[in-house]
Amino acid sequence: MIQAIVPLARRLAPRALMIAIVLFVLVFSALQPAFLKPENLIGIVRQVSLVGIMAVCMTFVIMTGGIDLSVGPVLAMAGLVAVFALDAGQALPVSLAAGISIGVLIGLTNGFLVGVFGLPPIIVTLAMLSVVRGSALIVGGPDLHAIRGHYSYTFIGTGSLVGLPMPICLFAVVATAAAFLQFATPLGVRVAAIGDNERAAYLSGQRVWRTKLAIYALSSFGASVAGIILTSQVHTAAATYGEFGTELDVIASVVLGGTSLSGGRGSVVRTVLGVLFLGVMNSGMAILNVPIDGQLIAKGLLIALALAAAELQ
C-alpha cells in the first residue's frame, strides 16, 4: 500500500498546491454553501491582493536565499509620500511616481548593502525596518492623514475594472509582469543560479551584485505599490501601516507556494498559488467562525509543514 502511495505522492507533489486549493474550496463550500458565491470568491482574492503583490515581488529575493523584512515600513512610507505629494498639489502620475520611487530607493539600498558589501540580508532588512519606520514616523507623525477628494487616487483602491476590483486587477498586472521577468528575461535564470549555488554563479561570471540590487529593488517596489493601494482603499495614509506581521504573511505565502527559504527553485506562479491558498484558508476559517487563535495556530502549522516539505525535498 505504501509502495503505491509514495510514487503517487511524488507525481502529485508539483500539483499538490492546486489540489489542496480545490480540495479546501470544496470542503468549505460543503460546510457553508455561501462560500462559493462569486462575491465571496472575489472578496477572497481582493483580501489577498496586497499580500499577493508583495509576495510575487519578494519571490526573487527569497529564491536567492535572502529575505526582506522591511516591506511593512516601505509600504507605509510609499503611501505617505504619495498622499503628501497629492496634497501638495502634484498630479496623480507624479505622486504615484514619488511614492514608488522612495520605495525603490530603499530597495536599492538594501540590495547595495547585501550585494556589494555582502552583509546578511536578515540583519540588513531588520535594521532598515527600523530606519524606515522611524523615517516614516518623522515624515508623517503617528497620526492618520485622511485623503480628501483625489478621486483618481482613491479609484486605485476602491474602483473596479471590467467588473473586478482594482486591487485584483493590479495584482494580476504585477503578477504577470513578475512572471514575465522570471520566464522571458534572463533575470529568472540568474536568480535561480544564485539561489542554487551563489559561489558557482560568481565563478561562472555572473555579476551577482547587479542581480541582487535589482531583486531587492523589486521587492520594495511591490511594497510601494501595496502601500499606494492600501492608502487608496482606506482613504488614509499613516506611518504606522504595514505593522509587524505583514512581512510574515508575505513570506508565508511565498513559502506555501513551495519556494524554499534556503534558495533555489521557486516561481512567481507558485507564489500566486500560495497567496490564493492563504486567502482560501483565511476566508474559510472566517466563514466557519474559527476563533482567532485557532486560525493563527492553523496557519502556523501549515507554514511549518510547508517549510519542512520544502527543505526535505
Binding site: 542554487d196 558557482a200 565563478l203
Partner: protein, 511 residues
Amino acid sequence: MASSSQAFEAATSLIEARGLTKVYGDLVALDNVDFCLRRGEVRALLGSNGAGKSTLIKILTGAVAPSAGGIWLEGKPMPLGRPEETIRRGVACIYQHSNLAPAMTVLDNIFLGRQPTNWFGLLDRKRQRREAVALLSHYGIELDLDATVGELSTVKQKEVEIAKALAINAKVLLMDEPTGWLAASDVRRLHETIRQLKSRGVGIVYISHMLDEISGICDTMTIMRDGCVIAEADVAAMARSELVRLMVGERLARESGSASAVKRRPRGDGTIRLSVRDYSRNGVFRDVSFDLYAGEIFCLTGLIGSKRTELLRSLFGAEPHDGGRVELDGRPIRPRSPAAAMAAGFGLAPEDRHRDGLMLNLSVTENLVMTILGRFVRGILLMHGAIEASSARSIAALGIHPPDGSRPVRLLSGGNQQKVLVGKWLNLGPRVLALDEPTVGVDVGAKAEIYAILRAERDRGVAVLIVSSDLEEVMTIADRIGVMASGRLTATHDATDVSMGQLVAEIGAAE
C-alpha cells in the same frame, strides 16, 4: 604451529578491516578493500590521486561511514562513521586539510573536544597546560600555546595538527600527506617521533608520495589504484621501478611521451597566448613564470598542497594576487573578478564541480549557457529558442547522456556532469581554457571522451592549461608539463622528453 602463529597474529593485530566499500552515487571510491595493521608497524599507503587512499583513511577514523564492510580494533568490532568513538578507542589522524578552529589558541586546539576536567566538571586549565608542555617537549615540537592558530604559518599549523594527534595517545596513528610543507629538519623530527611511537607499539599508516621518505621510515606498504588494493609488500623488498609500475600502471611506467601513439604539440603553433611573469601571492605561491602557447595542452602537476588551484584562481580573478605580470595575446590583464577574466578571454573549469562548478538543481541547458547568457538576450528578452539550439549542439558534441537538456544536472552520472562542466566553459569560446582536475571522479569511458574534446580544442588553437595530480592523465594528454611544489614552479618539460619515473621523482623530491 598454526595455532601459535594465529595467537601471534591475534596478539599483535591492531586493525583488521574487511570488505570496505564506499560508493558515492555511481562512483566507487573504495572497492572491497581489506586492510590489516600490526602493533609497531609503519605502513605506507601509496597510490595516485583518486586511488582511494583518503577514503580509506576517512572510513578508518569514522569521518565517513562505509557502504559495506567492517573494522575490528584489537579484535573488537568498531562502530562505523562515529568519530567520537574511534577517538575514544585510540585512533588518531592527521588529515590532509586543516582541522583546526582558527580563532582558538594552540592549547585549545590540541585538546579540542577532550579537555581534562576537574571534579566540578570545570576545565582543569593547569593540568591541560602541564600535559601540553610535557607533550611538546617530549616530541621536540616548538609551539606557542597561546598563539591564535589562524595566524600561524602553514608549517606551524601542521605541527599543531601533529601535536593534536599525538595528544590522543593513540594506538593507531594515521597520517595523510603529513610532510607536504615541512622543511627537511622538521621531517627528520617527525620521523624520529614516528620511530618513538613505533617502539611503543603504536601502529602507523603513512600516506605519501615522497618515495624517499617512505624507504626511510616505513616497514611495509599497501599500493592502491582505482579503489582497490593491488599490492602489499615489505618496503625493503621492492625496487623503485617496480613500485612506480604498480602505482601508475604497467603501460605508462615504461613509456615516456614519445612512445605514445598520440601526436604531441609542445608550444602549439608557436605564438605565446598567455605570458605569466613573477606571479606571486603572499603565503601561497611565489615567482611563478611560464608561457602558454596557442594550440598546446600544458599540464601543471604536483602534490596536493602545491597551490596549483590557488594559482589558477588568482589568474582567473576569483582570488587576489600580490605581484607579477600577466599578458594575454600580448595585452596585460589584471582581472578583478571572474566576469572580467572571462571578458578578457580566460575561462576556468573549477576542481570541485559540486561546490564551485555547477548548479545541481538547474537543468543541463541552464548550466551549459550560464557562461554566455548575455549572448542570448535581445533587448530585455531571453531568446529561448536560440538557447535550446545551442544546448542541443553542445549535448551532441560532448556526448552527454541522456541527451535531455531539461534534466536537472544532479541526476546525471559523474562523468556526464563533468562533461556539462567542460561544455559550459567551451561554450564561452575562451582564448585560454584552464581546467582544474578535469576528470576527477569520472569513469574511464568519459575520461577518454573528455580527453578527445580537449585535444579538439587544442587543435582549434585554444591554449589549454590543465592542473592534474593524476600522473597517468598527465602523461596521456600533455604536450608540455610543469611541476609545482610548495607554491613554486620547479620544472618544465616537453612531454616527449620526460618519463613517468622522472616525474614521480621530481614531484616527490625534498626541497
